[in-house]
Subunit: 380 residues, 2 copies
Amino acid sequence: MGKTYVLGVGMTKFEKRPETPLEEMGVEALREALKDAQIDPKQIQAVYCGHAYQGVSAGQRVMVAFGFSGIPITNLENVCASGSCAIQEAFFAVQTGRYDICLALGVEKLSTRVGGPLAPGFDDLEDSLGLTFGALYALRARRYMETYGLTSEQLAKIAVTNRKNGYYNDKSSHGELISIEDVLNSRMVSDPLHLYDCNPNTDGAAAAIVVNEKIVKRIGGRPIEILASSLTSGKFEPGFIDMTFEDITWRSAQEAYEKAGVGPNEIDFAEVHDCFTIAEILRTEGLGLCKRGEMVRWIEEGVNEISGRKPINPSGGLLGKGHPLGATGVAQIREIVLQLRGEAGRRQIEGARIGLAHNRGGVVTGTEGAASVVTILRKP
Amino acid sequence: MGKTYVLGVGMTKFEKRPETPLEEMGVEALREALKDAQIDPKQIQAVYCGHAYQGVSAGQRVMVAFGFSGIPITNLENVCASGSCAIQEAFFAVQTGRYDICLALGVEKLSTRVGGPLAPGFDDLEDSLGLTFGALYALRARRYMETYGLTSEQLAKIAVTNRKNGYYNDKSSHGELISIEDVLNSRMVSDPLHLYDCNPNTDGAAAAIVVNEKIVKRIGGRPIEILASSLTSGKFEPGFIDMTFEDITWRSAQEAYEKAGVGPNEIDFAEVHDCFTIAEILRTEGLGLCKRGEMVRWIEEGVNEISGRKPINPSGGLLGKGHPLGATGVAQIREIVLQLRGEAGRRQIEGARIGLAHNRGGVVTGTEGAASVVTILRKP
């Protein structure tokens, strides 16, 4: 198995762009990634495109809009984790020698999505009974509060931190310098989650060029190595599921640590799936980056802030940057690459050498969800 | 790269089943494949699920309905070729040593699909101007007739042959013993294509268990080796495209022959994407199984019939068995496995040693389409 690298990354600004075709957003992200990698588009040997709700042939439509196709193009869907699966497939294809250069794309346009709200897209029993995403995470937040003494103010502090990180990210239109009071005064969505506890609906695209060592030796550039990528699905466990802990995230993380040969203590920072403020807590603990319940203290002490000991979501995360489903996983990889290169500007984490991306997707009745993907990258 | 095999196959009957949930059909196909492979479901290490229009998390929903999840599950979409991509990903994952045992699923329920006709699912310029699939293939049929002297009777003979093959396939509800006159007397859909020249709308699911040599040595069974799987997309070529020949099919076939180390002359039979009668001609020639224009003579002489020198679509194909998009590619593999094992009953091809599956998907304006997949299998 050869060493595998991300050589170039690109993304559109994450914002509402109802007038812009999906294909145009994909092309914009692709152009930036190609420029960043300094490779000719004709060198791309295969494309993996992740998205959830953009109809058939999304990857092909982007490539034809770009003006280059005739190569293998595969569309992947694992709901919110779709983009991470595109990265994973590109990684495996290059790592196993199938290709030298692959493109991972993530695209999603939610502002004009037909078909109503972000429901599962099928008859989900829990959803139809009112257990929407907001309600589900509100229940989890309430349970966590009861168990570990988490307060609404501490939850709000995550929203403040991530939106501040997003404020220093020129690819986010959702970054804001807000206060804990602003969060607590925003309208209640599902008690105890206020509007600012929820990630904003967004459009966007992101791209990453994944290559092997041969290409790195030839082109140079600023490659960042992919050490491991691990995917799993929720176990089918009717009955009690511990709402304060994510077994699916734990399992995918443990596998990734083992494959990468690094433990959670060696992870300098992480991008995690903070679809709600409580989600950042559940994921950070599920990844084993801190102990169960320890996030309460982390938040108080600012451990998860960019200046802290273990920064979480320096890009702004889903809360501070938005969450165009398929694009999110690829944009996470972009942030890790920029941070490890030392190119993250005002949100740069000092001395970061190893970064982790965690992405989650979907609800499936009777399980913890459809997918959890953990990707670990290292500065060579 | 280790040798890779299909150890078990299963499928639902392809028929209209509006009352049956998609998940139930998936489980039905999976159970049959597991029984055929004689493996315990808990041995499955990863799942690849192909479908085009079934909403998010289809693979996860099937596995949870079956009662076993918590493993990597990835959904793949390449329109009508989605199931072939599931087979391909399972093949690559096992071949490269990532897993010992993978499940490839294909599921699609078209009889209750919301969202209207089988349009591309996005704003396709050609489709919006009236160039639906039926119209597109009618134009291609007309051009082929002008170029090579093909007659409506010869086109009709393909419908007769494939529906006869389907008649001997207990998994088809669309098999019929019909005459050329029946085809010519059926209502005109898009001149020169009559109703019987078109494949029927169907629901269904199919499953295949893909394993490495280690598992074959342990379990035994009746394994069929996958020699190669090749995917490509249509080239972006504004302007003239030769409507009597498929470059996309040709390119994917040539790559598959090279990878497999076998030429078209060594292919004993093939399952090809006969969405319309003319499509069987274009694909058989595009695969290089006969020369351009030679299919006219083949049809007259019955070369493509089960008793002929190069049987095409012994399962009935899309015309004689129906076309539940995502399930089609996996069902093609099932047919090849049964034929190579000598288990195809009344539609058995004598002495078949190498079989080829060809699947196509999608329209993308300015190209020949979204995907073409060629898979070659051999009796060990």
